[in-house]
């Protein structure tokens, strides 16, 4: 707060941009910076790569290696005039022109800029150039600081920031302007309310009648905004996804003005009973402008589950019960009139009947058959809140699928995990290894082999990571650059959300969100699961 209060708005704007993690533009690639560093220091490329492996961050490796230039001497270069520049000057005047230079000039200019910077400054400059600058600060904390500084409500600031912030002095000043003039918000979505994983204890004092129960759809969360004759579709990541979903924009244009719907974008054919799997939605997400055949093959729908604005009026403070009633009325009215753009495209997320809490688990088990990934429970008396608040929205996902797999390869992580083997590849047996089970399968006498199946990076505790790192170092069979093949002895239980066919993987399978759920030190590798067991799980999820 002190900082934002002291600096000129141009610097404040850029600092905010960076603290929000929005500064992602890449001016130069890490590879190019590495090349310039090698030319400047005369170090061989392999040595740079060995250093990178130790540091786990290329911008920092350069910052540390650049000092090698003044070989043998510790004397400092005179500070570069650039070191005195303001943040705004750095980001608007000093760095961007570097990207446009010819390679030779670029190398000279880059080296001149590095010269005389302290290693920490050099690190930050490199991070800004490669678009990799990140500060581990929660958005809420940044907003809190700005709220204190400006006297504005944090929720209002969040709303003003939705849909992107352009780092300019004018925008920064407007953001903190106490005046209640929010014309700039017309295209912006509302901050999304997010759900927490269900804490069943919290339901004990309530009855199911107080809750709206819905499927948890496996699509992408979005807001469809209709204002001032235009239409916007915003993803939860605050990206405008109009071009990827032209049919939903046509739908939006057929809706009454002054409307904001919260819901899910999903692939769902107009007449089909249920949606298609997430993997098919991914094919649409990758496309800037989908072709006619793709639009026909994978039609998108907007499954609405909340109404945030109607007739230009913010309905978020009203209880969900009233918002839901208004949403149902709106849906009914729309369907009563001819609605060619919307038929089958605008779907109302159906509410599910839950007579008593004992029926909850049985209901959840039906999610897979409905093409959903679990249940949502929303307090009917709650207003629409900002962000993830415990208590009014719960998600109750299906239990993950699980398989026991064998550790095959390990690679060192980066950043905090640099130099620790934390990126793992796991394999499954291609056939049962027990000969009595294998009878009649595969070539007789052929031993079972492990086929790599999934990678996972998370799920182990810090202590387990250190213990496994030690084990990996002393049980390495072979090294392929940074990757180590290890003795196939350690078994891990992997959890994942879904499994589908894939041409990219050796096993012919791809899993969604794989993570380690348990280190099965009790289990010998021969008893890990087989590919056949993985295939059998394929029917279990949408």
């Amino acid at each position: 707060m002190e900082y934002f209060g002291e600096v000129p708005p141009g610097d404040g704007a850029w600092a905010l941009q960076m603290l929000l993690g929005n500064q992602r533009r890449r001016l130069l690639s890490s590879l190019r910076l590495r090349q310039i560093c090698l030319e400047g220091t005369g170090l061989p490329a392999w040595l740079f790569d060995d250093c990178y492996r130790q540091v786990g961050d290329s911008a920092e490796t350069i910052a540390l290696l650049w000092r090698q230039r003044s070989d043998g001497a510790t004397e400092r270069m005179p500070p570069s005039p650039a070191a005195e520049a303001s943040l705004q000057q750095w980001l608007e005047e000093l760095l961007p022109p570097l990207a446009a230079l010819q390679p030779d000039e670029q190398a000279v200019a880059m080296q001149a800029l590095w010269q005389g910077l302290e290693p920490m400054e050099l690190l930050v400059v490199n991070k800004l150039l490669t678009g990799g600058f990140r500060v581990g600060v929660a958005q809420g904390l940044v907003i809190q600081a700005l709220a204190q500084l400006s006297g504005l409500e944090p929720a209002r600031l969040r709303h003003r920031l939705m849909g992107g912030f352009l780092p300019s002095a004018a925008q920064f000043t407007a953001l903190l302007d106490a005046a209640d003039d929010d014309a700039s918000l017309s295209s912006r979505p509302y901050p999304f309310q997010l759900a927490c994983p269900l804490d069943p204890e919290r339901l004990n004092d309530t009855t199911p009648a107080n809750w709206q129960v819905e499927w948890k759809w496996d699509g992408i969360r979005a807001q469809l905004i209709r204002r001032g004759g235009a239409c916007w579709l915003w993803s939860r990541g605050e990206e405008l996804i109009n071009p990827a979903f032209p049919e939903l924009i046509r739908l939006g244009e057929a809706l009454p003005d002054g409307l904001a719907l919260d819901g899910e974008v999903i692939i769902w054919e107009p007449d089909a009973p249920g949606p298609r799997p997430f993997g098919e939605l991914q094919r649409r997400l990758g496309r800037k402008a989908p072709g006619r055949s793709l639009l026909a093959e994978l039609p998108a729908a907007f499954v609405a589950y909340d109404l945030l604005e109607l007739g230009g009026c913010d309905r978020r403070p009203e209880p969900l019960r009233q918002r839901r009633a208004a949403l149902e009325d709106l849906h009914q009215q729309l369907l009563a009139a001819p609605f060619p753009a919307g038929a089958g495209r605008l779907r109302l997320s159906s509410t599910l009947a839950l007579p008593h809490w004992q029926a909850l688990e049985a209901l959840r088990a039906g999610a897979a058959a409905a093409g959903a990934e679990g249940l949502m429970l929303k307090d009917l008396n709650s207003p629409y809140l900002v962000g993830r608040r415990r208590g009014s929205w719960w998600k109750h996902k299906l239990e993950p699928l699980r398989l026991d797999a064998v550790l095959l390869y390990a690679q060192a992580g980066s950043g905090r995990r640099a130099n620790l083997y934390t990126d793992y590849t796991f394999g499954l047996w291609d056939r049962p290894s027990d000969p009595s089970v294998a009878a009649g399968e595969g070539e007789p006498g052929q031993p079972a082999a492990l086929v790599s199946f999934a990678k996972a990076y998370s799920g182990l505790s810090d202590e387990e990571i250190v213990a496994l790192d030690r084990w990996i170092r002393s049980h390495t069979l072979q090294r392929f650059g940074p990757v180590r093949a290890v003795e196939p002895l350690q078994v891990f239980e992997l959890a994942f959300e879904g499994i589908g066919p894939s041409k990219r993987h050796k096993s012919g399978l791809a899993v969604r969100f794989p993570r380690i759920s348990r280190w099965r030190r009790d289990k010998p590798a021969g008893e890990a699961d087989t590919l056949a067991a993985a295939l059998a799980l394929m029917g279990c999820r949408p």
Partner: protein, 345 residues
């Protein structure tokens, strides 16, 4: 691998010189051991006789037993062991640390042990030594490691500590070598306040004072009355104390860690201290390269840490025949946070 007919060969007990019939820093009990310095991975108990620098004798006896047969030497003193001429030369690593030179049959070998070339008021400065063959350490054998002067780092530590009068300051550092170096550096900066010590550090202060190393006044934390506040006090402790119940008395303290590994952000973050100070008792990259160059060795074997990287650099860039010495040090060190060669007592 070391040539089988060379002056030094590798045996299951460690590096062995047949001409002297002695092992250098053996890792199992042997009849005759030449010891570069007193860190636990270089000086092990159970040998028949030990040869080491006299300045470090107090520490060696404390660690290996008062009753060991210890032959104390001075730097540069000529020693004849069987057919070999042996001499110990200052390594600048810790008090009493040495490089060991052996010569026989017209061939000379130099075993660097752990060494550093930076100024250090707590031990004798590094001495460049020439030999036909060099066995060098490479703990920090990457060009990202380049140390700032120790006095500069000590001043940073002083400012960090004295800038926080409302909390205790706990600095984690290795109990033998690093801690005493810091106390000597602080003394050289004119600091007169008493510094408090964890028991593991306190145990090694006396041998340094006996050798005339000037350090700031110290007292074991355990001897400070319980009711006395620790605000504004500096406490030195070994890294293992960080996650131990010992820290209870220091709740609310600001924490720092002094080690060469702190040069890299990832290691700093993993260590979980508020501040990392780059201070090492090992050679940094320029020092490793300069030492190989100055030794005049026609052949260099590299052990400990980044042996493959340093060997390749010496070979390809410096034009010195060099190769990693497999198994010459200990097994590969798995934990990048521990400072190799600086095991705890």
């Amino acid at each position: 691998m070391l040539p089988p007919d060379g002056l030094i060969t590798l045996t299951p007990q460690g590096l062995y010189c047949r001409a002297a019939d002695a092992w250098i820093d053996p890792w199992r009990p042997v009849p005759r051991a030449l010891i570069t310095h007193g860190h636990a991975d270089h000086a092990r108990p159970g040998c028949g006789a030990y040869w080491a620098i006299g300045a470090g004798a107090g520490i060696l006896r404390r660690r290996l037993g008062q009753g060991i047969e210890l032959h104390s030497l001075n730097y540069g003193e000529a020693l004849q062991l069987q057919d070999a001429q042996v001499s110990f030369h200052s390594a600048g690593h810790v008090l009493g640390s040495a490089q060991i030179r052996l010569e026989a049959g017209g061939e000379s070998w130099l075993i660097s042990g752990d060494f550093k070339r930076d100024a250090d008021p707590s031990c004798a400065p590094f001495e460049p030594v020439r030999a036909d063959v060099l066995i060098s350490e490479a703990t920090f054998g990457l060009p990202i490691y380049r140390w700032p002067p120790g006095a500069e780092v000590a001043a940073e530590i002083r400012d960090w500590w004295q800038g926080c009068p409302q909390r205790p300051s706990v600095l984690f550092c290795y109990a033998f070598g690093k801690a005493q170096r810091l106390l000597a550096e602080l003394h050289a900066l004119g600091v007169e306040q008493e510094v408090l010590l964890h028991g593991a550090v306190a145990a090694l202060i006396e041998p340094y004072r006996q050798q005339g190393i000037a350090m700031v006044p110290t007292r074991p934390l355990s001897e400070l009355p319980r009711d006395q506040g620790l605000e504004g006090r500096l406490v030195l402790a070994p890294p293992a104390a960080q996650a131990s119940p010992w820290m209870k008395r220091l709740r609310g303290a600001q924490t720092g860690f002094a080690s060469g590994w702190m040069a890299v952000r990832g290691a700093r973050r993993r260590r979980g201290c508020e501040r990392g100070f780059v201070l090492s008792d090992h050679a940094d990259w320029p020092a490793l390269v300069a030492t190989a160059r100055q030794s005049g060795a026609r052949q260099v074997y590299v052990t400990h840490g980044q042996s493959e990287v340093l060997a390749r650099y010496l070979r390809e860039v410096e034009g010195i025949a060099a190769e990693p010495l497999q198994g010459g040090g200990l097994a590969e060190r798995g934990n990048p946070d521990g400072e190799p060669g600086e095991a705890l007592p």
